[in-house]
C-alpha cells in the first residue's frame, strides 16, 4: 500500500511535469488474493499486486490520456509525455466542462485491517470446511473466496486532493449433485461479515432439494426470486439506462418515462456511495463528491446518474458518478445500488403463491432490446415448482425472455431482508432483497 502521503506526493510529481497545462492524476493501488476450489479441492490459488496511474492532460478543450503501472522517473516522464501528445493530436471537444474543483469529502469507514491482512491459510481453512461439508453429503463443491484492499487517489491542477482506502471480501459457492446444484454468495468490506459456513449450508440445501428435476412447459409463471435474481434485474437496468449518457442518446428504458409511474409502488431503487451498508466510496473518478440519487421511488422513474460532462449537456449538476477518464465513453454509472426492502419473508412469498416457480439465480443474461430492457437468460442452481403455497418438486433450468421494466411493474411482494452482492462483472456492489412477481415469461428449457 502506498499510503495517502506517498500517493499525493506522486500526484504532485506528475502534475509538476505538466507545466502550466491543466491535468488530473488518478492512482489506483490494489493487493488482492483469491482461493478457488472445485471438485471439493483447492485447484487455483492466486495473489496479485499492482498500481495503475492514469493521467488526463488538457490543452484548451483538447484532451488526452495515458496510463502506466511504473513509478520510476523515466516512466513518469514518458506517461506525461504520451498524455500531452494525445491531447495535442486530439481535436477540441467544445462541450468538455474542464476539471472539477476542490471539494470536501465525507469520511466513511470502508477499511478493515483484518480483511487487508487475511492470509492464504485463513481462506483455505474456510474453503476446506465447505469442501468437507459437501463431501459429507456426497456433493461437489466449487467456488471462490477473495479478499483484498485498494487505494484510490485523485489530484488535479484545480486543487482536488482526494484519497480513499477500502477493503473487500467475497465468498461464492456452487454445490452440485448429479443433476442438481445450489449457489450462495455474499460480499462485504469486512471479511468477518461473510458467514461462509451458513452460505455453504444454503447451497447444500438447495442442491439436495434439487435432485431429480422435472421438465416443465415454457410459459408465463408467477415467480419468487431469491435476491441473487434481483441483483441481475437491477444490474441489467443499470447498464441499460440508469446513466445519463444513455438517456441523452435515447437508448435508455427511462426515455419518455421520467416522472411516470411504470413500476410497482413497492419498488424503490437508489444509488448511494456514502452508505456504509454498501461498498462505500466518497467521491467519483473526477473527484466530485458522491451524492445519493433516487432513481425509482415507489414505482416512479425519477432520473439517471450524471457526471460533469453529461451534466453540462443536460443542464444538471454532476451527481458524482463519473468513471475513470479511460472509460469516458461509457458515460456515468451507478455502482452502489440499493433496493428498498419490503415486509415479506421468502417463506411468506412462497406460501402466498398458488402456482409458480421459486428461482435461485439467473445466468448469462443479455439485452435483447434496450427500450424496455428486454433480457434473455437462463435460470441456474435451483428452480422449484410452488403449488398451493408449498415447494413441490425441482424443475430443470428454463430460458426466459422478459422485459425487466415490466417485471418490476408486476412486483407483488418485496423481501424484508437485504443482502450485499458484487455483480458478475465487478462493476457494482448492490444491496438487494428477494422479490415476488406475478408473471414472468419463460420461452424454453434446457436438456
Amino acid at each position: 500500500m502506498l499510503g495517502q502521503q506517498e500517493s499525493l506526493k506522486i500526484c504532485k510529481q506528475i502534475l509538476g511535469r505538466c507545466g502550466k497545462d491543466p491535468a488530473e492524476v488518478l492512482i489506483f493501488s490494489e493487493d488482492d488474493a483469491l482461493t478457488r476450489f472445485a471438485n471439493n479441492t483447492i485447484h487455483q490459488n492466486v495473489a496479485q499486486t499492482d498500481i495503475k496511474i492514469i493521467i488526463r492532460y488538457i490543452i484548451g478543450k483538447q484532451i488526452g490520456t495515458a496510463t502506466t503501472n511504473r513509478l520510476d522517473s523515466s516512466a513518469l516522464d514518458e506517461v506525461v509525455g504520451r498524455a500531452r501528445l494525445n491531447a495535442q493530436a486530439s481535436p477540441e471537444d467544445p462541450l468538455y466542462p474542464g476539471l472539477s474543483g476542490p471539494a470536501q469529502y465525507q469520511e466513511i469507514p470502508a477499511f478493515d485491517d483484518a480483511t487487508a491482512s487475511y492470509s492464504p491459510q485463513a481462506r483455505a481453512l474456510s474453503v476446506r470446511g465447505i469442501c468437507n461439508l459437501s463431501k459429507s453429503k456426497d456433493l461437489n463443491a466449487s467456488g471462490a473466496f477473495s479478499t483484498g484492499y485498494g487505494e484510490i487517489t485523485i489530484a488535479n491542477t484545480e486543487g482536488v486532493n482526494a484519497y480513499h482506502t477500502s477493503t473487500h471480501a467475497d465468498f461464492q459457492t456452487v454445490i452440485m449433485g448429479e443433476d442438481s446444484s445450489g449457489r450462495a454468495q455474499r460480499t462485504a468490506w469486512r471479511v468477518q461479515d461473510i458467514p461462509v459456513e451458513e452460505l455453504g449450508k444454503e447451497a447444500v440445501h438447495t442442491a439436495e432439494r434439487g435432485r431429480n428435476p422435472h421438465k416443465i412447459e415454457a410459459g408465463e409463471y408467477t415467480v419468487v426470486f431469491d435476491h441473487y435474481v434481483t441483483q441481475d434485474i437491477i444490474s441489467s437496468l443499470c447498464f441499460s439506462g440508469m446513466g445519463a449518457l444513455s438517456v441523452l442518446e435515447g437508448r435508455s428504458w427511462m426515455n419518455d418515462r421520467i416522472g411516470q409511474k411504470i413500476m410497482s409502488s413497492q419498488v424503490s431503487i437508489w444509488d448511494d456511495g456514502l452508505d456504509p451498508q454498501g461498498a462505500p466510496m466518497p467521491f467519483d473518478f473526477e473527484g466530485v463528491p458522491k451524492q445519493k440519487v433516487d432513481i425509482v421511488r415507489e414505482g416512479v422513474v425519477l432520473g439517471p446518474v450524471y457526471d460533469r460532462y453529461t451534466g453540462q449537456k443536460a443542464g444538471h449538476a454532476s451527481t458524482g458518478h463519473a468513471l475513470p477518464p479511460t472509460a469516458r465513453g461509457f458515460g456515468p454509472l451507478a455502482t452502489n445500488l440499493f433496493m428498498a426492502p419490503g415486509t415479506a419473508s421468502l417463506e411468506e412469498m412462497i406460501h402466498s403463491t398458488q402456482r409458480g416457480l421459486y428461482i435461485n439465480r439467473f445466468w448469462y443474461t443479455r439485452v435483447v432490446h434496450p427500450r424496455d430492457c428486454i433480457i434473455t437468460g437462463m435460470t441456474r442452481d435451483g428452480v422449484f415448482m410452488i403449488e398451493n403455497g408449498e415447494i413441490t418438486y425441482p424443475v430443470k433450468n428454463l430460458r426466459f425472455t422478459q422485459s425487466y421494466v415490466q417485471a418490476l411493474a408486476d412486483v407483488e411482494a418485496v423481501g424484508r431482508k437485504t443482502y450485499l452482492l458484487a455483480s458478475e462483472f465487478l462493476s457494482s456492489v448492490d444491496c438487494i432483497p428477494a422479490l415476488k412477481i406475478s408473471r414472468f415469461n419463460f420461452t424454453g428449457s434446457t436438456v
Binding site: D32, T35, F37, A38, T41, I42, H43, Q44, N45, V46, A47, Q48, T49, D50, K52, T65, A66, T67, T68, N69, R70, N86, A87, A89, S90, P91, D93, P120, A124, R128, C131, N140, S142, A144, S146, T173, V174, M176, E249, G250, R251, T326, G329, W363, Y364, R366, V367, V368, H369, P370, R371, I374, T376, M378, R380, N397, T443, G444, T446, V447
Partner: protein, 481 residues
C-alpha cells in the same frame, strides 16, 4: 529480464518445487474513439509485471507483481509457496503434467505495417472521415468509430528448461451506429458486432476494412431498420447465418464446451461445465457430416495465433469435430494427461497478473463447397441473419439464444425484405446436426472476439474464429412477441 526469471526459478528449485514457471509480460496499448464527431477517448497504456506459478507438494500456488526488482521477485516467489501450502489444506488428485516442455525460441506476429508507426493524426483522420460519412445520414442518434492497437512482449521460462520470447501485435477497430425512432432503438456495426473486429496483424487490416468506405451504408441500414418489418415470431424455418454471427455461434456452442477444464468441473463456480463429457469423445454426433471444427494457434490473423501458449507448449492444430463426430478438446498439460493425450497449447493468461487457464485459441468452422449465390438460390423459404446483437447460452452449453442486428427474408431463392429484431434459439447438437450447407473458402473470414470472459478472478481472452456463411434447417426463429 532473464536474470530475474532465473532468480525466481532457482529459488523454487531450492525450495523443492515439483514444477514452476514464470512469465514477464509487457503490454502497450493505444486506443481511440470518436463519438458524434468528438474524440471521446485517446489513450496510451503501458503495463508490465511478472507472475510465478508453483506446484509444490501436489498443490498449486500463484503470485504476481508489477515490481521487477530482485527483492520483489523473492517476496512473490515466497508468497507463491505460501499459497501452494495453503492449497494443500484441500488437496486434489496427483498432478501429472505429461512430457516435459523444453521449448526455446523467439516469435513475432507477422505484419506488413507496424501500427505504432502510424501517426495519431492519421489514425484520428481515418475515424473522423468515417464519422463524417455517417453524419451525412439523417435519423442517426449516435455514431461511433474506434481503433485499438496492442503490442505485448512476453517472456516465459520453466524449471524444465523452456525459455521463449514472443511479441504479439493486434490491430482492431470498427464502427457502430444507433438509430432511435418511436419505440425503436436499432444499431448496425462494421466490420463485426458491437463495432469491433480484431486481428493479429498490423495497420494493413484497418486499411483493408475501409471504414470510411462502409460508413454510409452501415448508417443507412440502421435507419432503415427502424421501420423494417419485425422478424416473424415463433416460427420454425431455414436459417442462413452470416460468417460474423456464425463465428460467435462457434465460440459459444463449440469453443466453450470443448474446454477440457470445464468438462472436469474446474469452472463450475463461474463459467459452468460442459455437455461434452469424456465418454462422448470419438463417438458423439455433434453435427452433420459437413461440420468440421478445428482448434489452431497457427492461422494468420487469428487472435489465438502465437508461438507458444502460457505453458510453453508450441502452437499447433487439432481437430475438435471431424465429419460431425466429436474428436478433440482444448487442453492444458494437466487436463490432457487425464485423458491420455498431450497438451494442444490452450493454456492462456490474460496478463502477468493472472494464472493461465484453458482458453480458446482459434476455433474455426472449416469451409464447405457452396458459393454464396448458389446457397441463396437453393433456399426456397428462410431467413438470413448477420452481425450479433445479443447472445446467451446455458451453463452446460446446450440451450442458446442469439439476436442479430439485421435479418433478410429469403423467398424462392432470393434475398427479400429487411427484418428488424431477428432472434433464434436452439439446442447445440440439434442445431449443428441441422447444418446442410457451408460456403466455400472464398467466403471464409478469420473473425476476432476480443472479449471472452472466464475464470475467477475474471480474465478476458482474445480468440479467433474462422467461418463462412452456412445454412441450418428447422430452426426456431423469433422469440420476441
Amino acid at each position: 529480464m532473464k536474470d530475474l526469471m532465473d532468480r525466481a526459478l532457482n529459488l523454487t528449485r531450492m525450495r523443492g518445487a515439483q514444477y514452476a514457471d514464470i512469465r514477464v509480460v509487457e503490454n502497450r496499448t493505444e486506443n481511440m474513439s470518436v463519438r458524434n464527431g468528438v474524440v471521446d477517448a485517446l489513450n496510451f497504456s503501458d503495463n508490465i509485471g511478472f507472475g510465478v506459478r508453483i506446484l509444490a507438494n501436489g498443490a498449486w500456488g500463484f503470485a504476481s507483481s508489477r515490481d521487477l526488482s530482485p527483492a520483489e521477485v523473492d517476496r512473490v516467489t515466497a508468497l507463491a509457496f505460501e499459497i501452494a501450502r495453503a492449497s494443500a489444506l484441500a488437496p486434489g488428485e496427483k498432478v501429472d503434467l505429461g512430457p516435459a516442455v523444453v521449448s526455446q525460441g523467439v516469435y513475432q506476429t507477422p505484419f506488413q505495417i507496424d501500427p505504432f508507426s502510424i501517426s495519431l493524426e492519421d489514425k484520428l483522420a481515418l475515424l473522423m472521415k468515417a464519422d463524417a460519412e455517417m453524419g451525412g445520414v439523417e435519423g442517426l442518434r449516435v455514431r461511433r468509430g474506434n481503433l485499438t492497437f496492442i503490442r505485448e512482449k512476453k517472456s516465459f521460462a520453466n524449471t524444465e528448461g523452456a525459455y521463449t520470447e514472443q511479441t504479439i501485435i493486434e490491430s482492431g477497430g470498427g464502427l457502430m451506429v444507433t438509430a432511435v425512432g418511436g419505440n425503436e432503438v436499432q444499431q448496425r456495426s462494421y466490420p463485426a458486432s458491437f463495432g469491433r473486429n480484431q486481428s493479429t496483424a498490423g495497420w494493413e487490416v484497418i486499411l483493408n476494412w475501409d471504414l470510411p468506405g462502409n460508413a454510409q451504408r452501415v448508417a443507412s441500414e440502421a435507419v432503415a431498420l427502424l421501420t423494417a418489418d419485425p422478424c416473424p415470431s415463433e416460427i420454425t424455418t431455414t436459417l442462413i447465418l452470416g460468417g460474423d454471427q456464425l463465428a460467435l455461434q462457434v465460440h459459444e456452442s463449440c469453443g466453450h464446451p470443448t474446454e477440457l477444464d470445464r468438462v472436469f468441473g474446474t469452472e463450475a463456480a463461474y463459467a459452468g461445465t460442459s455437455f461434452l463429457t469424456t465418454e462422448k469423445l470419438g463417438t458423439f454426433k455433434y453435427g452433420s457430416s459437413l461440420v468440421n471444427l478445428t482448434a489452431d494457434s497457427l492461422r494468420p490473423l487469428g487472435l489465438g495465433t502465437f508461438g507458444w501458449d502460457d505453458e510453453g507448449v508450441p502452437a499447433q492444430s487439432t481437430p475438435l469435430v471431424k465429419d460431425g463426430i466429436f474428436v478433440g478438446y482444448l487442453m492444458s498439460r494437466e487436463t490432457a494427461s487425464r485423458i491420455g493425450r498431450t497438451s494442444n497449447a490452450c493454456m492462456r493468461a490474460s496478463g502477468w497478473d493472472r494464472i493461465p487457464i484453458v482458453r480458446m485459441i482459434n476455433v474455426s468452422l472449416e469451409p464447405g463447397t457452396w458459393s454464396w449465390d448458389d446457397l441463396i438460390a437453393d433456399t426456397d423459404d428462410g431467413i438470413f441473419m448477420e452481425t450479433n446483437r445479443s447472445w446467451s447460452i446455458d451453463d452446460k452449453r446446450y440451450n442458446f439464444q442469439f439476436g442479430t442486428e439485421v435479418g433478410y427474408e429469403i423467398k424462392n431463392g432470393k434475398l427479400g425484405r429487411l427484418l428488424r429484431n431477428p432472434t433464434y434459439t436452439g439446442i447445440t447438437p440439434e442445431f449443428w446436426n441441422s447444418c446442410d450447407a457451408i460456403c466455400n473458402e472464398k467466403h471464409w473470414i478469420m473473425w476476432g472476439t476480443p472479449n471472452c470472459g472466464k475464470g475467477q478472478p475474471p480474465q478476458t481472452a482474445h480468440t479467433g474464429h474462422g467461418a463462412a456463411p452456412a445454412r441450418f434447417r428447422n430452426v426456431r426463429v423469433g422469440v420476441l412477441k
